[in-house]
Each structure stands twice: as C-alpha cells, then as structure tokens.
Subunit: 199 residues, 2 copies
C-alpha cells in the first residue's frame, strides 16, 4: 500500500497478524502510529519490549507475573486452602475483579481439546496435583469456561481430584444477571433449571 | 486487570489509546503479545520504532516516504504534467493501486474544516502553488473525498487554481461499480445523473 515507505508497509503487515486486526485496520493503525509523536511511538515500542522482558509465569499458580511467586500467591490475606482453577490468566483476573473470592488461583494454561491436539499433559495439571499434596488445600473450584472444551476439562479434573478427598465444586451455570428469560438459549435454561436452589 | 503484571497493564492501556481498539481488545492484544516469542514481540516493537525513525515526508508532494523526494516523485516513467490532489497518503495509495493514473500526487494533509479550526493555511496548498509555478504542470485532478469537507476543499482549490489557466478536473461522483441502483442514496443518484456521459 505505502510504496514509498517500506517500513510503514512492514509495520502494517506485522499489525495485521495480531488477532482481530484485519488488513484495513492494520493500515489505519500503522498510519496512526506514524502520526504519533516520536516519544509516544517509542513508548509503545518500549512497553511491548518491557512486557516480554519483565513478565514471566508464577511457579506456583502459573499466572503471569513480574515476580515469582506472583502477588496473589504472596498475599498473606488470601485463603490458602481454596484454589480456583481457570483456563487462562484473563479468567483469573475476571474472577478476582468480581467480589466474593479471596482464595488462590491455578491457571491451567488452556483447556482439553483433542481436536487441537491438546491433552492433559499440555495443561498445568501435574502442578495442581503438587499444590494439593501438602494437605493445606480443602476445596477446588473448577472455573473453566462453560463450553464444550471447558466442561470436558472440568469433568476430567473432577474425576482426577475426587479420589483425593477434597471438596470439588464447579461454578454455577445459569441465566446471566440482568438477562431476559425470553432470549436465553435452551441449553442455558435447562442448566438454570437443573441448578435451581432452594430459597 | 493484570494485578500481578504492571507492564502488561501498561501495554493494554497504551494499546487502548489506538483508534478502533477498545478496552477489551487492548487486553486481548496485550495478552497475545505476551504469548508471542521474544523475537516476534521485539520485531513488532522495532518496526514501530523504525517507522518513526525512518519515515518522513516528501518535500515535493508531502507523501510519507523514506527518501526525499519520494519514489513516486523520483519515478521517471510517471507523467510530470498532471497532479492528482488528495487529502491523505492513504488516498494517494488507493488511487495508485487502481489502474489508470500514472501522474504525480500532491497530499494536502487534510481537508478544510472550519469547525475543527482547519483553514487553507493548515493544508499544503502553498506548496501546490509552488509546484505549478514552473509551468510544467498542465492538469490538476482534485480527488478530495466526496463528502462535505472534501467538496468544500475541492471548490476552494478550483477557485484558486482556475485563474492560473490550468485544466482543473474533479474525480467523478456517481454509482459505485457493482452497486445496486435500488439501494443508492438520493445524493449519489442525483450526482450520477448530473455527471452522465454520452456513449
């Protein structure tokens, strides 16, 4: 597109490889970056470098972190005897932002997905078992996503963990707060009925 | 969002300031960048730096360019006596990609927009007049966008350039190729009728 500026073309090509950014958006972004001040553009470049240089994974919970163990694992105020198992860091962040959970996290780093060749060995399941072994953990909340792969992962984990004598729970699936019964899909509705709770 | 990794948070904040990228996309992108290999992430950071370091503006046509004059202005195969005036580099790139034009470009760097405080002095109009002065130029095609500001800019330019005895033309406005008459807006239709051409 930008014949006379190969580096802008290169940047647009690079940006187009990011998820959710098509060819036209990439061109627009490259253009926008070109119009930023030098300081602003360099700041953007440096934060990208910084992320790769500074951020690693927590050796306990597999969360992304600049320190090891991560801030959550180091926090003395959190309940050490309850672990919430999620697929990705973003899931842990979402749960942490919602009120009502002050336990620990364990990030699997994905979900079971045989079609993509992802089996139990590709997830941080061994690490989870290690964490349980010391006997301090009393409850595991399985908070994988409520879709086919997430449910399969949850089922696999619960089968694996039940013999260890822990309390194993699964986050509730039902109608989202503020939603409309009329527009809910039937799978969600049947889950909501199944999981009904007494007043 | 990412309590335990301030630099990821910083990157997401920085990305969210780019046009068309909301808060959630920014988080997803930051995450994606985190998952890139070090080489890939550094390459992205470096192309951003490179763009700001290498790319400037052509002193003749105001196109973005790594060389001065730009490749288009240097190209001996192009017709020097016809200049296509556009608002932005991307417009020139679009016209250049379409077949049928092998003249020179002049990038105004914007359009007249009194509401945004952009007047003739904020556009590269003086530079355009300088280019015309040497007498080599015979025709000016005004290819500003077919919207209110673009038309106002075109009108202003044609009034300014007509006394110089050049051929001044405006790109045709009418029905887009492949479109449906039924769905065309009335402004486009009346333009298409107005600009009808004999077989």
């Amino acid at each position: 597109m930008f014949k006379s500026a190969a580096s802008v073309e290169r940047l647009a090509n690079r940006l187009a490889r990011l998820p959710g950014i098509g060819r036209k958006s990439a061109n627009r972004l490259a253009f926008h970056i070109l119009k930023l001040t030098k300081d602003e553009a360099f700041e953007l470049a440096d934060t990208i470098r910084e992320v790769k240089e500074k951020v690693g994974f927590c050796s306990i919970c597999n969360n992304i972190s600049e320190s090891d163990p991560c801030q959550i694992c180091q926090d003395p105020k959190r309940q050490k005897n309850i672990i919430c198992v999620v697929e990705e860091t973003a899931d842990a962040a979402a749960i942490d932002k919602a009120d009502g959970f002050s336990g620990m996290f364990h990030i699997l780093g994905g979900k079971l997905s045989p079609l993509d060749g992802i089996g139990p060995d590709d997830l941080k399941i061994t690490e989870l078992l290690h964490r349980i072994q010391d006997g301090e953990v009393k409850e595991i909340i399985i908070a994988t996503n409520p879709n086919v792969e997430g449910e399969a992962t949850a089922l696999y984990l619960s089968n694996l963990l039940k013999p260890l004598g822990l309390k194993i729970s699964r986050i509730a699936r039902g109608l989202p707060v503020g939603s409309d019964l009329e527009y809910a899909d039937s799978a969600t509705l049947s889950r909501a009925l199944e999981g009904r709770q007494e007043f």
